[in-house]
């Protein structure tokens, strides 16, 4: 298909503001009479606040209020309460103090006296699972299904089972909380000529969104105006309104720009309640500015994994069987991604039989949540060298092995083995092999003094598309096309990429389009959350259906005025005209004016029954302002829309220092039709950079003695710098349309990271003659210890090392 806009580069309209500093983030907004709240947080990893004495602080000049957990609706537990008296990690917010300046608020915090009863704590899931080990909550350490639903319980493994697991073996007959399987595992293993069995550990680590999650809110005439920092726009409204206890119509959510979320800001987080409630209680605008340190604590983190895997290859190289156990470090929220981790294996290697057993264990560490490719990316990273080992044992080239098992249009997905909308992973592998020159790379000389070359390959998957959301386009009487989007501006520019589908359908000039976004009072449709790589697939569809609705209305208006039927009409050059006699027609501006006059469904006075309440409110806001195209995406979708990617890495590892340079990196995306080449390139490189961070740098470190995190700051958490990644990172895309969406595009955000992490891990193992660290990240000390044959002190699956 030939597109006007799809597959073409463009400059999203907010880019300039981000470069010049004109872009506004939640922290940049001010309102007359605004006051400032600061948080008092937990100094202990586990305990109960018995008493708060804020009397001295509240007597200070300029202090105007306080909010404690007692002032908020009871939060479900275990969970992520906005404020709490039950302390489950260091840094957990206890109260918010409000003053006329931040200076006063901070000074006042020091006058507050807390009486805290300490409780036992634990920072390592296996320590908690061991019989006699502490539980993160008094009632237990895992969520398990009971007769009354999900509830906390204390789950313990026998000492010999924990010991076996710590030492890289199947723990045997122990209890898990999540299990699934498909196929005949024993029969599949019986067919295998190579079976590898390995333990693994992946570190959790914080999101460290560059923009901390500052909020500012105020109330006017019973409505809440809320400036926040989320990945999503419209997906925030309903849950935020519920959080504040108001109706959807009484919330205006404003979020023009977001400085990163990476999964931690998909929807409203509990801490948003603080400014919402305080501003209502005080009847003043309230800003809760979150510090860098607070962002570490409350900004969520990837769950770590301690695991064991057994994988079998048939003589022909096909993966027959995979058996995997994952113990997740769920932090204080208990969130783990083990099932997703295992599911990703099922997609990328397509084993004929598979079993997953897992448990996510609460620890007294920061809350965990989705982080770019949650579960999948760390699994891909730690698994790549293990699968390399299996391929090498079988004597099959590592890339050929992956090609043999790669998902195609007949691929099956995860536990239920459902279908995919399409998958062209072999094409991605072939493209990558050619561009990277895999044969030459693997046959080059490897050793030069202390330097050794490693070549690696890694694949990644994440579900990448949803359906059923709404779209709105508006043609104004001024002739402009207003592309209303509820997609958040999380930094991927997908809000701009997806509305190009509407411009494509309307065949209008891009420079005559205006993207309407960032403020729910502008009339924004119900949209998916911007997470899970879904937006490109989901909202090219919703924009498509809205634009198709507008085109239909254009033709109806023209037919009513100029005669004939809608089938007699075409569109082009911002006109609707008779196909046979193109001079007979209406401009879009004229048609929009007619729509206002006609009213009803043309002007938005009426709208479809099946659209979401938020979309209906949006249409009500803009009704009468032009021709309104509005529709729900009811297009067919059968199966999982996969985002797939393959990464190739060449490193030069220095055996003296344990450091390595990534000399070449190529990421190839298999994401259907490419919507925005430059955006895709940035996504692949950005994801690639983060993947390199996962492979080599980033991790949580908690001291088991006192439950304190060691690396709170950005410099301590060590996301890779520009000097830690290749000067030039290459990327490419297969660019074959997915047949189950009109534009043909699927998402790719998350696999862009996972494939890079996997490729670098594969390259490290390759450089060291196939040595498996079975751990992410692999840091210089680990490499040195291996080279020096030091006793390596991370072998026992400890999740916190430094």
């Amino acid at each position: 298909m030939t597109f006007m806009y799809i597959g073409k580069n463009f400059t999203p309209p907010d880019v300039q503001g981000k470069i010049t500093g004109q872009a506004r983030y939640a922290e940049d907004f001010r309102k007359e009479g605004m006051v400032f709240a600061r948080l008092l947080t937990s100094p202990v990893p586990s305990g109960m606040v018995r008493n708060i004495d804020a009397s001295e602080a509240l007597r200070m000049d300029g202090v105007v209020g306080i909010l404690t957990a007692d002032d908020l609706p009871a939060a479900p537990r275990p969970g992520v309460p906005a404020l709490t008296n039950e302390l489950t990690y260091v840094g957990q917010p206890i109260l918010a103090l409000v003053a006329i300046s931040e200076q006063i608020a901070e000074n006042a915090l020091e006058r507050i006296k807390l009486d805290i009863e300490r409780r036992p704590f634990v920072v390592d899931p296996l320590v908690s699972l061991a019989a006699g080990g502490p539980d993160a909550y008094p009632e237990g350490n895992v969520m398990a299904r009971t007769a009354d639903g999900m509830a906390l319980k204390s789950l313990k493994w026998a000492p010999q089972s924990v010991e076996a697991f710590r030492n890289g073996r199947d723990p045997g007959d122990v209890e898990f909380t999540t299990e699934w399987s498909y196929g005949d595992l024993d029969a599949a293993f019986a067919e295998c000529s190579v079976i590898v069995e390995e333990p693994f550990v992946t570190a959790g680590y914080p999101h460290h969104s560059l923009e901390p999650r500052t909020c500012m809110s105020y109330w006017e005439n019973g409505r809440c105006y809320f400036h926040g920092s989320l990945q999503s726009q419209s997906a925030a409204n309903a849950p935020l309104a519920r959080m504040l206890g108001i109706e959807l119509k009484d919330l205006c959510f404003i979020n023009e720009t977001t400085g990163g979320g990476f999964g931690s800001k998909i929807g409203p987080y509990p801490f948003m309640a603080i400014s919402g409630y305080l501003s209502r209680n005080l009847n003043r605008p309230v800003q809760v500015r979150i510090t860098r340190e607070e962002e570490f604590f409350i900004g969520s983190a990837r769950s770590g994994m301690q695991g064991w895997i057994k994988a079998g290859l048939k003589p022909d190289g096909k993966v027959a069987a995979v058996d995997v156990i994952i113990v997740n470090d769920g932090g204080s929220s208990g969130s783990g991604s083990g099932s997703s981790s295992a599911g990703a294996i099922s997609v990328v290697y397509q084993p004929t039989a598979m079993r997953f057993r897992g448990v996510s264990v609460f620890t007294n560490t920061t809350p965990r949540g989705a982080q770019r490719g949650p579960g999948q990316n760390e699994m891909h990273a730690v698994l790549a060298p293990i699968m390399d080992k299996a391929a090498n044992q079988l004597g099959i080239d590592r890339l050929a092995f992956r090609r043999l098992n790669a998902p195609d249009n007949n691929a099956k997905v995860e536990a239920n083995q459902g279908p995919v909308t399409s998958a062209y992973m072999r094409e991605a592998i072939d493209m990558g092999s050619l561009l990277f020159d895999w044969p030459a790379k693997i046959s080059q000389p490897r050793r030069n003094g202390s330097k050794v070359i490693g070549v690696g390959v890694g694949m990644a998957y994440h579900g990448a598309g949803n359906n059923g959301f709404d779209g709105i386009v508006r043609i104004g009487p001024d002739g402009k096309i207003y592309l209303h989007t509820g997609v958040g501006n999380l930094g991927t520019y997908s809000y701009a990429g997806t509305v190009r589908a509407a411009a494509e359908v309307l065949q209008c000039r891009w420079e005559n389009c205006e993207i309407v976004r960032g403020n729910s009072d502008l009339g924004l449709p119900h949209s998916s959350g911007q997470g899970g790589s879904n937006t490109i697939f989901t909202h090219t569809r919703s924009n498509y259906v809205a634009a198709m609705d507008a085109v239909g209305k254009l033709k109806e208006i023209a037919a009513a005025e100029l005669g004939g039927t809608v089938d007699d009409y075409s569109i082009g050059e911002e006109r609707v005209f008779k196909t046979a006699t193109p001079t007979e027609g209406l401009t879009y501006a004229e048609a929009a004016q007619r729509a206002i006059t006609l009213g009803g469904r043309y002007s938005g006075a009426e709208y479809p029954d099946d659209i979401n309440e938020l979309t209906a409110l949006a249409v009500q806001r803009i009704a009468g302002s032009g021709l309104i195209g509005v529709a729900k995406d009811n297009l067919e979708k059968n199966g999982t829309a996969p985002g797939l990617a393959i990464g190739f890495a060449e490193i030069e590892l220095d055996l003296d220092t344990g450091k390595y340079d990534i000399r070449d990196y190529l990421g190839v995306a298999e994401c259907g039709t490419v919507v925005h080449p430059k955006g895709l390139s940035h996504g692949m490189n950005g994801g690639g950079t983060w993947g390199m961070g996962m492979a080599g740098f980033e991790r949580h470190v908690y001291d088991p003695q006192n439950g304190l995190p060691a690396n709170i700051g950005l410099y301590q958490s060590k996301p890779p710098t520009i000097l830690d990644v290749p000067v030039v990172m290459r990327n490419a895309a297969v660019n074959i349309a997915d047949p189950q969406t009109p534009i043909g595009a699927r998402g790719i955000g998350e696999p862009a990271m996972g494939c890079a992490a996997a490729a670098v891990m594969s390259a490290i193992a390759d450089a060291l003659g196939g040595h498996l660290f079975n751990r992410t990240p692999v840091t210089p000390d680990m490499i040195i210890d291996h080279v020096a044959q030091n006793t390596y002190n991370n072998k026992s699956l400890k999740i916190n090392t430094f």
Binding site: R38, L39, L40, T41, S42, P43, V90, G91, E102, Q103, E106, N107, L109, E110, T291, R292, E293, E294, F297, S450, D656, T657, G658, K659, G696, F697, V701, D703, P704, Q705, N706, L708, A710, N711, Y715, Q716, K718, P720, T721, I722, L723, D724, T779, P780, D781, M782, I784, D785, V787, A788, N790, T791, N793, N800, T801, F802
Partner: protein, 329 residues
């Protein structure tokens, strides 16, 4: 536990003459805090882990800036930024070792404001200490890092004495190797201390990493001609290639003649609380050619006597490797 990040109330003094700064430093003594580039200061103060009553901002004192040629080498003003150090023609031409070390400090943004005095006088980066725990160095009675479960990957393998923190400075090993001297002024006069003696370990003073005392200001650093244009080697191994502290670093200076090393100084960073002279290595290489055979003969001399903690045994191999690499250049 508030997560502070706003400056506390503090008296601010902004002298423009060294004499005025010295008078203030004397008067305020322990209650005062000297401010240079602020890259160590602001963390302490905004976290409110250290709570001085007054800050003496030295940035208005022009005489503390700049790099000057002297009769016996070069004098570097205390407030000279690390970027200025990196780009200075005299330093690049004669003491490129120091330029190389300065160039590996943190990031360009930090080097643009961070000063040479601040880089050498900065406090240790042990995360327990920085977290505000009451450890030995903070006046308490225990070390959190030196325990079987302590997270001590980045800590000392030499010279532990209750505290196991290491020197974080990248320029300090280079200055010790170059036999720099530190000019320290107070109201009572000036004293000049060899860089090697400027840094002190916990066995000498558990709460200070330098000989600087209240009322004193490090006003300049002098580089003698002794090692000008010698053979230099600097390498810093850190997890990241920017914005990171060394796991181990090495600064070496060598004079060669007749195909052999006449004299040399090898100094390792981040292995103990002070820059560590590798005296055995220096002895072993004197009179030897810079060859692979000499390098191999060093064996484990650099790490001899090291006492690793639970997570930092890798530093032994690393310091041995860096000593060999420094020899070979």
């Amino acid at each position: 536990m508030p997560s502070h990040d706003v400056m506390p109330d503090i008296e601010l003094y902004q002298p423009v003459q060294v004499e005025d700064a010295l008078a203030l430093a004397t008067r305020l003594a322990d209650r005062g805090w000297l401010l240079g580039g602020g890259q160590d200061t602001y963390g302490w103060l905004k976290d409110r882990t250290k709570v001085p009553e007054a800050m003496i901002d030295l940035n208005g004192i022009e005489s503390l800036r700049g790099i000057r040629e002297t009769a016996d080498g070069v004098e570097i003003g205390a407030l000279t930024t690390l970027t200025e150090l990196v780009n200075n023609p005299l330093i690049k031409e004669r003491y490129s070792l120091l330029a190389s070390a300065a160039e590996r400090v943190a990031s360009p943004q930090i080097r643009n404001v961070g000063t040479v005095a601040g880089n050498v006088a900065q406090d240790v980066r042990c995360w327990y200490y920085r977290r505000g725990l009451s450890c030995y160095r903070a006046g308490g009675n225990l070390c959190y890092a030196d325990t079987p479960e302590g997270m001590n990957r980045e800590h000392a393998i030499f010279g532990a004495s209750r505290c196991v923190a290491v020197t974080p400075s990248d320029t300090a090993p280079a200055l010790v190797a170059l036999e720099a001297s530190m000019v320290i002024r107070s109201e009572s006069g000036e004293r000049v201390v060899a860089a090697e003696d400027f840094f002190i370990g916990p066995n000498v003073d558990i709460q200070n990493t330098t000989v600087l005392r209240p009322g004193e200001i490090l006003t300049s650093v002098r580089l003698p001609t002794t090692w000008a244009n010698a053979t230099f080697y600097f390498e810093k191994v850190a997890d990241r290639n920017a914005w990171d502290f060394a796991l181990v670093s090495i600064a070496a200076v060598m004079r060669e003649s007749g195909g052999v090393i006449q004299d040399a100084r090898f100094v390792a960073g981040a292995v103990q609380c002070t820059p560590r002279r590798l005296l055995d290595v220096e002895s072993a290489v004197r009179g030897q050619p810079r060859t692979e055979a000499t390098a191999q003969s060093l064996g484990t001399l650099a790490s001899q006597g090291a006492q690793p903690l639970n997570h930092n045994g890798f530093k032994l191999h690393l310091v041995d490797s860096l000593a060999k690499r420094a020899l070979l250049g």
